[in-house]
């Protein structure tokens, strides 16, 4: 991989050696390698691959089963890596071990197969000063130990980035240990119950199968004792959490579902022990162990499913210090945003976000407040005007004098609003708990009545009947019905890039009658795109576009970026002596002519001719292109609709859902988007509080509202809605509060999610109906004393298997 092959057009069908995307550009990087030419789609892939080769880890390409994701060149995140070396921040995620080395847990994102985990681990181990590393692919975490004198934490983070992945410190290292211990103990409890169940069944089966007198009394007694011996660990260890939960419920004077479970288990076990000691009467050890096996299994599956789904979101729990460049007499220093005080002067470079609220100290700035207000167009700010923390610098670097930092910023106020809305939702959850309490009371009442009735008829059978009613009314089928379907649905959703953070989101998504969408960043891409180039002079629109792209070739302004994206693949002329006038445009020499790209006034100043009238209906903003002789073109730029948004809206309407559009953007722009998507209910220029009120109004009219949003300004309304969905590329804060996240950013996945949720709801209903029918059929028999242990065992397993099989239909 030494000789570099350049400027050779790639053969048709060439793909990137690293990420597998097609390579078409002749200028794409390529390297000669023993097996042929390795081509790369971009410099990002090239850099990662060179790093892997340089570290001697080429094996990765042989081992991997999935192509690597394309690394995004997030240059600014590399800068913040230095913050991890700050003692105050380092202390929050790293611990000093007894032998003097430092240890920390990292969240690694971007690993697609087990080979990536292998690659990251070996790459970290090659960082000088690292004493040891272990990457767990299942949890996407890395545990790293390093000697503080030889290595710095930032070098480890940078190394993971070199591998094409992203890394965050996992702050709650201690929490991770607790989590791990919990998962292991759940698995142990389940496996112990499984082992006990299988073996106890072996001892119980002969009694069912053998005819009268075929088993001698001493062998029967031996098998009972063996069953008892194996049931003891199942009850005392595997079922211990149920008893603990039931005890806590009783102490809090409420009836949870664990109460009848424990009552039935305890009664059946105690009675079976007495039968064993007496040497006569029925034993229910097989039913007891099987019951514990199913319930522990259901809970383990439920937890594993949720963990798997939540893993892609765990970076939100990570400590991501937002960096700030504080200016002082000697220059600038990188500090964490939390350390800023009013009066500090902060430098914000192009593409960085503003760390705190303040007043602009430079003459001019272009910022985007899309995340804060939903306003998608970049805003121009002049010296002395207010700049909000969390807004993005779309233009040149500028300096801000901080007025509010930390908890006083507008961003923090939004956060508090959101917490209030989330707290107001709690009563709904309580209602669900009350309902299950009623169910438990009914079960207890039925078994008590059965016992009383039998005391009058035949006192010797009263206890057995009560136990069989308790066991039969709380069977595995009923306890598995919902978790099995939810676990299957969570998995099915995750395969379609929808990450569910709260299980009840599935139910709420299925029942939603109204979908409320934010515009910017949700229905639209949230960044400007060139819609149309109108040629005004003799030039063609293609030539004009290429010329405009050449003028703005080095500009960080989002409009120039949009023009460059649109002009990709065209032959650009050479622009020289480019000069930018902040807030107005760019002037440069193209083929000896003086040309200007920018606002209408800026261009008119060059040629002194009035601009021609053009149709501006579809444009958000217009960039004009002119030379000294006249006008060349008008480039219409708008926040383009997300691909597939129209089809997705159509499908949602077909599912019988009413659609609403709420936007913080200009009412005119929002109305146009609503019209194009066929959304009838629309409100533009909405504030976060206004959006929240709108949703509350819908709810007051009985609607079940699902909110889809992406920005921080959506967070309060996300919390207000019955179920909230955040776009994966949106602000972290919105994702934390959302019940589900669209990781793919594709609205079609949202439609699929609604279909899966409805299917899951149907399956849950079928399962509950089946379990209920089973109970209704079996309770009278049990109350009548007609249920034999064999019948109970077979009916129980059959109904459980049926419920699980039904849940597996959700795909």
């Amino acid at each position: 991989m030494d000789a570099i092959v350049r400027q050779v057009a790639p053969p048709a069908g060439a793909t990137c050696y690293h990420c597998g995307l097609p390579v078409t550009d002749a200028a794409a990087p390529a390297h000669a390698a023993p097996e042929g030419v390795r081509r790369f789609c971009c410099v990002g892939c090239e850099a990662v691959s060179l790093f892997i080769h340089g570290a001697g880890l080429d094996d990765y390409y042989r081992l991997r089963s999935e192509k690597a994701p394309r690394p995004d060149a997030a240059a600014s995140s590399r800068d913040t890596v230095a913050l991890y070396d700050e003692p105050a921040i380092l202390a929050r995620f790293a611990t000093r071990r007894a032998d003097g080395t430092m240890e920390a847990d990292l969240i690694v994102e971007g690993m697609t197969c087990a080979a990536c985990a292998w690659l990251v681990e070996h790459a970290i181990e090659r960082v000088p000063g690292v004493a040891g590393a272990h990457v767990n692919f299942a949890t996407r975490r890395a545990r790293v130990r390093w000697r503080e004198d030889d290595a710095r934490a930032s070098a480890i983070f940078a190394c993971v980035m070199d591998c094409g992945c992203k890394a965050w410190p996992f702050e709650a290292g201690r929490l991770a240990l607790v989590e791990e211990a919990e998962r292991r103990s759940m698995l142990r409890r389940f496996l112990v119950a499984a082992l006990g169940m299988m073996q106890v069944m072996m001892y119980a089966a002969p009694a069912y199968l053998a005819g009268e007198g075929e088993i001698t009394a001493d062998v029967a007694s031996l098998m009972r004792w063996a069953g008892l011996l194996l049931t003891v660990p199942v009850i005392a260890y595997s079922a211990a959490p149920f008893f603990r939960n039931a005890w806590q419920d009783l102490r809090a004077r409420r009836l949870g579902v664990d109460v009848p479970v424990c009552l039935g288990l305890a009664a059946a076990f105690t009675a079976s022990v007495f039968s064993t000691l007496r040497g006569s009467g029925a034993v229910y050890f097989d039913s007891v162990t099987m019951f514990v096996f199913f319930v522990t299994g259901a809970r383990y599956l439920e937890r594993a499913g949720l963990e798997r789904a939540g893993r892609s979101l765990q970076r939100l729990a990570a400590l991501v210090p937002s960096a700030a460049r504080r200016m002082h007499a000697g220059g600038e220093e990188v500090v964490s945003a939390a350390q800023l005080r009013p009066g500090d002067r902060v430098l914000v470079r192009a593409g960085e976000s503003v760390p705190a609220d303040g007043l602009l100290a430079s003459t001019h700035a272009t910022v985007s407040e899309a995340l804060l207000s939903g306003e998608s167009a970049p805003l121009e700010r002049r010296c002395g005007e207010r700049v909000l923390g969390g807004s993005l610098n779309c233009g040149d670097a500028f300096i801000v004098r901080v007025t509010h930092a930390g908890a006083d910023t507008v961003l923090s106020t939004l956060r508090r609003m959101m917490e209030l809305a989330a707290a107001a939702r709690a009563p709904w959850v309580e209602a669900a708990q009350k309902a299950s309490g009623v169910f438990v009371v009914v079960i207890l009442a039925v078994s008590a009545l059965a016992a009383l009735a039998w005391l009058a008829v035949d006192p010797s059978r009263a206890l057995w009947v009560a136990i069989s009613v308790l066991i039969v009314t709380c069977p595995c089928a009923l306890s598995l019905a919902t978790p099995a379907a939810m676990s299957a649905a969570t998995g099915a959703l995750a395969r379609r890039n929808v990450v569910v953070t709260k299980v009840r989101a599935i139910e709420a998504l299925a029942g939603a009658t109204d979908f409320v969408f934010d515009k910017t960043g949700t229905l639209t891409l949230g960044r400007p795109r060139l819609v149309e180039t109108v040629a005004l002079g003799h030039s063609t629109s293609g030539r004009a576009l290429a010329m405009a792209a050449a003028l703005g070739a080095d500009s960080p302004h989002p409009l120039d970026q949009a023009i460059r994206d649109a002009a990709h693949g065209l032959h650009w002329p050479v622009a020289s002596l480019a000069r930018r006038t902040a807030g107005r445009g760019i002037e440069a020499l193209v083929a000896g002519r003086r040309c200007r790209l920018g606002s209408v006034e800026f261009c008119r100043d060059l040629n002194g001719i009035e601009p021609p009238a053009i149709d501006t209906r579809h444009a958000h903003s217009i960039a004009w292109l002119a030379d000294e002789q006249g006008w060349i073109a008008a480039l219409h730029i708008a926040d383009a609709l997300r691909p597939g948004a129209g089809e997705a809206m159509e499908s949602l309407r077909a599912l019988g859902i009413s659609l609403h559009l709420l936007s913080g953007d200009d009412a005119r722009v929002a109305a146009r988007a609503a019209e194009r998507l066929g959304i009838a209910n629309m409100q533009g220029g909405a504030t976060p509080a206004g959006k929240q009120a709108y949703v509350r109004g819908l709810q007051a009219r009985g609607a079940r509202v699902a909110m889809v949003g992406d920005g921080i300004n959506d967070a309060p309304v996300l919390a207000q809605a019955d179920v909230s969905v955040a776009m994966g590329g949106g602000a972290d804060l919105a994702q934390v509060r959302a019940d589900a996240v669209l990781a793919s950013d594709s609205l079609e996945d949202l439609v699929r999610a609604v279909r899966i949720a409805r299917k899951a709801r149907a399956v849950v209903r079928e399962n509950l109906a089946w379990a209920l029918a089973y109970n209704l059929a079996v309770i009278p028999l049990a109350v009548a004393g007609q249920v034999t242990p064999l019948a109970a065992a077979i009916a129980m397993s059959a109904s459980s298997l049926l419920v699980v099989a039904n849940a597996l239909r959700i795909r």
């Binding site: 081992l63 080979a115 181990e125 299942a138 698995l187 001892y203």
Partner: protein, 49 residues
């Protein structure tokens, strides 16, 4: 049938052994990551993991 007096205690002992083995395997983290070890073993690398 007398053989059961030997076989049943034997099965109990066997169950206990399996139980202890499972206990140890879970505690040693053998169920923590079910995908990576498969790759580890075919990598040309002698460093112990």
């Amino acid at each position: 049938m007398d053989i059961l007096f030997l076989l049943i205690p034997l099965s109990l002992a066997l169950a206990a052994v399996i139980g202890i083995a499972v206990w140890y395997a879970v505690g040693a983290g053998q169920f923590d990551d079910l995908e990576r070890p498969a790759v580890e073993i075919i990598a040309d690398d002698d460093t112990p993991c």
